[in-house]
């Protein structure tokens, strides 16, 4: 692909994006999981379709970023934007697709009254950590804890 950043457009998620998101997820993970995305996208559409976005280039979906504004969790009473799921078509990396989606979703979070945005990233995923660092995200005092059950 030769398109530049300016050729990428961002719009709110809709239910017809399911197939494209399944396709991108399959490219990234190598597994076909339509049932997972049908349920998950139904959830985000119910919550607020404008706080989840897709990126389009050359007439097709090349990325998605799903999130929502919540409050009252983890001791965070103020409305907080959460970036929860992110995927970019591997063929379209390097075109600032993720950055464009993040800018759009953060704007929606602000409109919904959020004062901050949070996400959880595997610390060993350097690419993803680098991506969020480049957007101005910093490690938070909120720690992730886990244990097997």
């Amino acid at each position: 692909m030769t398109a530049t950043t300016s050729d990428v457009s961002i719009r709110p998620l809709d239910e017809l994006d399911i197939s494209d998101i399944v396709r991108i997820d399959e490219k990234i993970l190598g597994s076909y999981r339509p049932e997972v995305w049908e349920r998950r996208i139904g959830y985000y559409l119910r919550r607020d379709p404008e706080t989840s976005v897709v990126a389009e280039a050359d007439g097709r979906v090349v990325g998605f970023m799903l999130g929502e504004v919540r409050s009252g969790e983890f001791g965070l009473e103020e409305p907080t934007g959460w970036v929860e799921v992110l995927g970019v078509d591997p063929e379209c990396r390097g075109r600032a697709v993720g950055r464009r989606m993040a800018e759009a979703i953060l704007e929606h979070f602000r409109e919904r009254g959020a004062k901050s945005v949070r996400t959880l990233v595997d610390g060993e995923n350097e690419e993803l950590c680098g991506f969020f660092n480049s957007l101005g995200f910093q490690p938070s005092s909120l720690r992730a804890f886990t244990r097997p059950i």
Binding site: I18, P34, G42, P49, E50
Partner: protein
Amino acid sequence: MSVRTTTLPKPYHDAVIRWRETFLPDYDLLMESWEKFFPNEPKFELCAYRQLGMCTEIECGDQKGKPKFTRAADMPAEPAQHLFGAIRAQASTEFGSIQQHRLTLARAQEEEEQFWILRMMAEELRHGYQMLHLLVEDDWSCVTQESRADLVEGILSMNTGSHILGAFNVDFDSFIDNVVFCGLIDRVGKYQLAMQKVSAYQPMAESMPQMLREEAFHLAAGVVPMRRWVTAAAKGSTFITMVDLQKAINKWVPRALEMFGDERGGGTNVRFGLKPMKNAEAQKQYVEEIGKLVRDLNLRYLRARDEKLTHGESETVLDRILAGESVGGIHREDLLHLPHAEYFRRRGMPAFKMVGADGEVFTDLRAYQQHLVRTLPDAYRASRDFREYMDALTQVAEGTMKAEEAAGKMPSLRRVGGACPCSKAVRWMVDEPSSSAA
């Protein structure tokens, strides 16, 4: 973003609650089951939402650039009358479609899908409430002598078959209709809502954003079950087959196309600043969108039939099959298709043309009737809607009535004026004169 939440004055609010108790008796079950099906999601609230901070200048039409109207009394007489009729009719059909959905709601095979539709019905109730809010909050004495109480009572007293402008009578035959209706008819509503978001009447424009947010899930409540059903069908399930789905698509797509209004019209709404697009333009975008829906369903079907197919391979296989080739034992007729735009039409430019689902032209009335019988759901044949269409078609074919005359006699499912987007916004309407196409 700032949203103002209001409720109707108590007598009107209570009237809606009483209506709900009669026509949406599963509402309490929905509330009791909310956490099970929609965990941690804000509970449904019956109220009107107005989004503040929206554009205050008229965005299209003859008055573009001038301040939007905040009161009906400030509008010129003709647009005000048009708007009033649209809101009232919209309100009536928001409530009316709940009456449709409830008839087959209990036939759902999957509890989750049933509760998705039930939630959608509750939100349609809110859309009707939103329209009542527009009628009650403003002073409409410039266009009607009816009191607010009479307006509300008139709308809430309607029942299936007695809604504004005629019969609201396309019955649901099974839960397939609940779902396909959401996927196809609510999608028309999405277009209307999006267009109404620029309405020259500010309260209407401010009513649209929340309705659009809710409508997004209504479409998913149609599309996701359809995706699941084609998957099950591909794996041999006999509960809901591809043939069943195709027939339901054939039943609703013609009505959906007619909901945009006559292909030659829509100019009046644009001139009044009530919508930004004429009918044909909006209809064209809609057809492209449902074309993608059908293609996605076919791809889902193919990959469920052959789990070794990759996405790219399934695209190639689909194109080969659609071109007429048989691949892996799958033929073109095994897949879903959009019916031709002139198939089974009773309104607009193609009204009463004898065009088949694949675009084939019939010259023999009997052969066309048999074609319709083969391509539409079996239960639908027993409906009043189908009988009236067949009667009118016969008269047109025999030359005892002109197609334009027959079209004028047939009520059509339409979203009037573009108020509500949802299925409930659908009503039977008469086309505006063709002169409005200018």
